[in-house]
Amino acid sequence: MGDLLNLDPNVVAKARQLAARASEPVIALAKAHTTVAVERATLRLAGITGADTAHRAGDVPWVNRVVDTIREHCGLEHGAVLPAFDALRRHDFANLTELAEATAAGQVQYKVPAGREAERAYKLARTAVGKGVRTVDRNRAQRDKLIARLGDPAQRPWIYLIVATGDIDEDVIQAGNAARAGADIIAVIRSTGQSLLDYVPEGATHHGFAGTYATQENFRIMRAALDEVSKEVGRYIRLTNYASGLCMPEIAVLGGLQRLDMMLNDSMYGILFRDINPIRTFVDQRFSRQVHARAGIIINTGEDNYLTTADAVDAAHTVTVSQLLNEHFAHEAGLPDSLLGLGHAFEINPDIPDSFRLELAHALLARELFPDAPLKWMPPTKHMTGDVFRGHLLDGFFNLAGVLTGQSILLVGMMTEAVVTPFLADRDLALANVRYVLGAAGNLREDFRPAPDGFIVKRAHQVLGEAVDLLERIVDDGLLNAIADGTFGLMKRPPTGGKGADGVIEKTAGYRNPAVDLLEEAR
């Protein structure tokens, strides 16, 4: 992308410095704490799978049984790994699943090992976790191989389409059809409510609400199906799912183990829109992003959501601020620019004058601030009224803004947004809309030169200026206070409140986690 906005490099550098300073205290907090989800994710990397089907509360994953019991017996301040592998060694179990079964039967007493016992437990754990990490590495290599063989999509933006039937078998059929019809990326929407489950369901599932549960088995089924379709259509079809929620670290691990290609992972989304405890979110987010970095998974951030609750013009700069924060958190966790699917959206009220020019200004600002990031461009939802004809036109303008400003990933807008889940025909019409705009105007970018002192350029400068001002205030107040004050998406979230707060544990000096060690050593 050229330099159409003539942004002042000093202002851009200042914005990044401020974002870094605003993030620092939160990163320090994230390093000083662990969570039940981080500990479970570590044991999942070490090979624990399956669920306790005999439990009265329904299928409880073994990993939850183990981590909960360790917490009861000796706390999690030292991590779950030392007590777990110490017990494994003392009882001479063959694997973690045997340990879990014995735990459920009440046969295991956990303790924090010390001295040589601790070293032995750590070594054992490191070997087990290392195996999981190698699986993640192999998946990454396999993806590279498949892309080399089958190829990437012929065009940018990549076309991102959603399936959401609730039944993984039905999803597979819809995903195959979507890929044949032109989709490059398939996202399987999760069942509503999963983000607030403090465990990851098990097995293939067929009864989700407005989406399909994210489970390791569902991931495997869909990836295998898309590998078949990829061969058929002659390009590598990417698979997206959602890491965000109370199980962010675990789902990130499962994504790495089953070769997902993209995952929704926002540094603040869970706090703002799911009322998850802020500290829990920042700890979980950091670990999950370290896993994504290892797995070569492109993260998708959720800035589009701010604009569905706040006004897309008044709050445009909060998107920029969040993108800068997401970028810094991601870099700190080891993600390179090429894996940063920073989000933004076409959500300005179409009834206000110059709404399209404003959209272009905002979209171009994101493009020029993050030239190497695969930006994710999200379609209108807030101003889709049920007038499907008007909605279809609006989606056309959204597509045009996407190609004109060089967006990287385009989530296909549906005219049935806010009406029903899209019909087969709606998806077909939506893809025809994208194809028309790509064909007719895909190269229009070459000719697109906003006037140097014109409306678009001025607006972009204004938004960047407002973003810098807001970042200054955040640095002064502290990011956690800014979140508590409702700075983002108008949601007020105090650091002590929110769901999952009781799953946050301060680490002691003796805390050990081979997953963190392996992920950080590699860098």
Binding site: T192, S195, T308, L490
Partner: protein, 255 residues
């Protein structure tokens, strides 16, 4: 309940294409039939059974190997009898925020407490936020903007017991729940569960119960066990006006 609109003089109407009484409509649908003359014939048969006569298939396009998408124009023979139309019409005056505030202040002499949230697994707060958040919806400020209302927005995925507990603790005058997800009638079951819980916990002293969501039919209030149902396009002002009206009715003369 009554008929309304500019055609109030006429009892019977048909769809208007470009001439009065032509009955012309346009529909689109997909059939699980491979594209071709047989598919077009199938589309015409469906249109005929829907009362379209004559019908024209103006567009048919394959979607994959097994499906065909159609756009059909035609004249329907059905006639609408406006006397048989049953809808919920607003039976209370629409008040401005200052009128709402003034009425509450004068008649209640304390703030009116509104507790709201999305119940069950529903995580879509767009609806409840549009009504409650100060930002509002369709150019109208939300209930948080009303000085004499105290709004407690519990957000997404509130369990019914939690909602009852909080409502009791906050001494709620009214409880607003929003439901967007409708898969397997979740919105209906959740709302019925909610109203039953309030009846059980508080009996006659329960707060005013209001359900809202794009797929609710305002005629369903009785079935859902709530005092009022608001459907698609409801604005904060309508809800605030209803609160004042309903509380006035509930407590006799004063609010």
């Amino acid at each position: 309940m009554s008929s309304s609109g500019s055609n109030s003089g006429k009892r019977h109407v048909r769809p208007y294409g470009d001439t009065t009484g032509d009955g012309m409509i346009q529909v689109s649908f997909t059939l699980p039939v491979p594209h071709g003359p047989r598919a077009d014939g199938a589309a015409l048969q469906l249109a005929g059974k829907m009362g379209m006569d004559p019908a024209m298939v103006v567009h048919s396009k394959p979607i994959g190997a097994d499906f065909t998408f159609f756009v059909v124009y035609g004249s329907v023979k059905h006639i609408v009898d406006l006397d048989e139309v049953r809808v919920v019409e607003r039976e209370y005056p629409l008040l401005s925020p200052s009128e709402v505030n003034a009425t509450v202040k004068k008649e209640l002499r304390r703030k009116l407490v509104v507790v709201g949230g999305c119940i069950g697994t529903d995580a879509h707060t767009v609806g409840i936020d549009a009504i409650l958040n100060i930002k509002g919806f369709a150019g109208e400020k939300g209930l948080e903007y009303y000085r004499e209302l105290r709004v407690v927005n519990l957000g997404a995925q509130v369990s019914v017991p939690e909602l009852v507990k909080r409502s009791r603790a906050e001494k709620a005058d009214a409880v607003l729940v929003s439901q967007v997800v409708t898969q397997r009638d979740a919105h209906i079951h959740n709302t019925q569960e909610m109203s039953a819980a309030f009846r059980e916990a508080m009996g006659e002293k329960r707060p005013l119960l209001i359900a809202g969501g794009p797929r609710f039919d305002p005629l369903m209030a009785g079935e859902l066990g709530v005092d009022r149902v608001f459907g698609r396009g409801t604005t904060p002002g309508e809800v605030a006006s209803f609160l004042v009206h309903a509380l006035r009715r509930k407590t006799g003369a004063g609010v």
